[in-house]
């Protein structure tokens, strides 16, 4: 080719040569692509598809609808000058994006589980659902106006989306658990989307009449900005919002001489001194005149529970002290101590199955469950109460028993990231109801092994929902203090 054909000293000259040398009309596909309509309709159809049907796999149920919300926002943004309905759709989409982004970011904060957090989440969810319907009404009416302006008799089908979503919300309200209607609805949804897609193709030439709105911010920049907001929000959540606030204070040393005497007596009876040193004077004095001490101690590496690659090991010590009195009474201590530090400190939880719950025929609660946490920081012993300690009702789902309503004692807390010898205990007192029953007290300790979980939940929530194990960010270890008190000496099961 003769390169001199394209000699052009400047851009204007080169442009002139290009314009004068246009070979042919553009290919049909290119001619069709040069329309404001096609891109917008593709964004809308994809946006609706991604927000309507969710895949419950690997977090896609959160991120695909977020992408869909974003695509709908971009589409309405382009169409906002077209007619009042589409302008309203743009505003509703902006509000919906804000609500969805708020939910996505709050999901990275444990704060969402507090009453205030739950209220904010409820408002954001309500706004998100309402604006979703509003968006569809605006789309329906807006497209209808475009259709009528183009002189087309056939409806757009967008109205059916409103009906579809209303049906979906109704099913959610009545907690429908069947399979048939949801399957039919998925089919109907795909049909509606296909109808919209077909319509967009049929209206391509009509769509040339659209007037996209100019913008100072490109679509790409808007997407980058919104992605940045999301990433920063999530980073803040994972960085600062994934732990339970605790009130750590220097521990007061034991000052009661009577308590010191009882400590010596208990130690002489076999009470482990490391555990004894952690108890308050009041708790020690409550054991004055103890008749017997039964001790069970076990090391619980996280790897013991089929969780390979997880570091950290707990020592669980169960101590039962028989108290003086006419009726048989036992004060039970469930103590834990981290012997090998874990790589990640997020949230922790202890679920207690007290003997009076497991064997109510034999034992009754005499004193409620109390306890505290301890650790060493800069040579100082620090202590904190549990962030939550008490009974909670929840619905447990088990492979064997299905769904059942349960009420258990839970302690919820976070341990410091920079500390040594992290430990704590729970204690309660039971009295005999009828003779001949074993003492059987269980602790289920749930430790958060990783920050990577979404939505972020606490160890307490993980335990209640059964979200512990191999594919979870939580590991569960169990121990029990079990012995037959009528034996003398009483020996913990497994140590006979």
């Amino acid at each position: 080719m003769d390169k001199r054909l394209w000699n052009a000293p400047g851009d204007a000259e080169f442009d002139r040569l290009l314009a004068a040398s246009l070979p042919d009309p553009p290919p049909d596909e290119v001619a069709r692509a040069v329309t404001p309509w096609r891109r917008v309709m593709e964004q809308l159809v994809w946006g609706l598809a991604l927000t309507g049907i969710t895949l419950q796999v690997g977090g896609l149920q959160y991120w695909l609808p977020a992408l869909g919300t974003l695509l709908c926002l971009l589409a309405f943004r382009t169409l906002r000058r077209e007619n009042p309905w589409l302008r309203a759709g743009w505003m509703v989409s902006a509000v919906r994006t804000g609500a969805v982004w708020g939910i996505l970011i709050l999901n990275a904060f444990l704060w969402r589980q507090t009453p205030a957090g739950q209220a904010v989440m409820a408002v954001l969810t309500g706004v998100s659902l309402l604006t979703q319907l509003g968006q569809l009404v605006c789309l329906w009416q807006g497209l209808d106006q475009v259709r009528r302006a183009a002189g087309r008799a056939q409806g757009t089908g967008a109205g059916w989306l409103v009906v579809w979503y209303a049906g979906l919300y109704a099913l959610a309200l009545v907690r429908y658990n069947g399979l048939l209607i949801p399957l039919a609805m998925i089919g109907a949804y795909l049909l509606i989307l296909y109808r919209l897609y077909r319509l967009s193709r049929e209206m391509e030439t009509t769509g040339y009449g659209l007037h996209p709105a100019p913008s100072r911010l490109s679509d790409r920049m808007l997407m980058v900005l919104l992605a940045l907001v999301l990433v920063l929000g999530l980073a803040a959540g994972y960085g600062f919002g994934g732990r339970i606030p605790m009130d750590w204070q220097p521990a007061a040393p034991s000052a009661d001489p009577q308590a010191a005497v009882v400590r010596q007596e208990l130690a002489a009876m076999g009470f482990p001194e490391t555990v004894l040193a952690d108890l308050t004077d009041d708790e020690v004095l409550a054991c004055r005149g103890a008749r017997r001490v039964v001790v069970s101690e076990r090391d619980l590496p996280l790897t013991d529970f089929g969780i390979q690659g997880r570091q950290g090991a707990l020592r669980s010590t169960g101590v039962a002290v028989e108290l003086p009195g006419e009726r048989e009474q036992w004060k039970l201590f469930q103590h834990f101590q981290w012997m090998e530090p874990a790589p990640w400190w997020g949230t922790e939880c202890i679920q207690l199955w007290p003997v009076y719950d497991l064997l109510p025929e034999g034992w009754a609660e005499a004193e409620p469950v109390t306890g505290r946490l301890l650790c060493e920081q800069n040579g100082q012993t620090m202590t904190a109460p549990y962030a939550y300690l008490g009974e909670q009702s929840y619905t447990a789902t088990s492979m064997f028993w299905g769904e059942e309503q349960r009420r258990d004692v839970f302690a919820s807390f976070s341990l410091p990231r920079r500390a040594e010898n992290r430990r704590g205990y729970l204690t309660y007192t039971v009295q005999e109801v009828s003779d001949g029953w074993i003492v059987d007290s269980w602790v289920n300790y749930v430790h958060q092994t990783s920050a990577f979980q979404y939505p972020v939940c606490s160890a307490l929530e993980a335990r209640q929902t059964g979200n512990t194990g191999l594919n979870s960010a939580f590991a569960l270890v169990q121990d029990a203090l079990q012995f037959y008190p009528n034996d003398d000496p009483a020996v913990p099961f497994g140590e006979e």
């Binding site: 390169k3 394209w6 442009d15 040398s21 290919p27 040339y208 100072r216 679509d219």
Partner: protein, 179 residues
């Protein structure tokens, strides 16, 4: 109405075909004419005239040589350029109002054919998005502002893309430039 039905009606010189053409392709024709004829009345005149050309020239439409939409836009664009030339004005951005001069010399005709062939190859080698940008700018003569609005970009970003497109075409077509 389906495209094939519309073409059949036009071939049969059925007036329903003309009405359908204006209803279904009127927005497209206005869209193509608007950048070249910014005055709304001129654009309307162009659409009417282009529709008449489609009506009269439907026998020349050959699906084997190109798509229907491309043909309708080509007829409309040429009509708009003719009207703009007649009126001595064009709304195109920094583009020549002169289409190939009437009655070129044999040597100019040969050079023009060679340029067209080279440009056809160069454009065909571009990615689809750049092909669309090329035709928006040089064929439909859309302004930077219009391209920006319709592609969701800022005008500055469009200018950047056009600059890179121009550089790419210069590289593939050759020729000398200043500097």
């Amino acid at each position: 109405m389906r495209q094939e039905e519309l073409i059949a009606l036009l071939r049969e010189k059925d007036e329903q075909g003309m009405r359908a053409l204006l209803a279904e392709y009127g927005p497209l024709m206005r869209y193509v004419a608007a950048p070249i004829l910014p005055d709304g009345r001129d654009a309307e005149e162009c659409v009417s005239e282009a529709a008449m050309r489609v009506w009269n020239g439907i026998e020349r439409y050959d699906p084997a040589r190109g798509g229907w939409v491309a043909w309708v836009t080509a007829v409309t664009r040429n009509t708009a350029l003719n009207l703009a030339r007649k009126a001595g004005r064009s709304g195109a951005d920094a583009l020549p109002e002169d289409a190939p001069a009437p009655g070129p010399s044999p040597e100019e005709s040969v050079m023009q054919s060679e340029r067209q062939a080279a440009l056809r190859r160069a454009v065909a080698a571009l990615p689809e998005a750049e092909q669309v940008l090329f035709y928006r700018k040089y064929y439909y003569r859309q302004s930077t502002a219009q391209i920006a609005r319709e592609t969701g970009l800022t005008e500055r970003a469009v200018e950047g893309r056009l600059y890179r497109l121009r550089m790419r075409l210069r590289d593939s077509l050759g020729g000398e430039r200043d500097g």
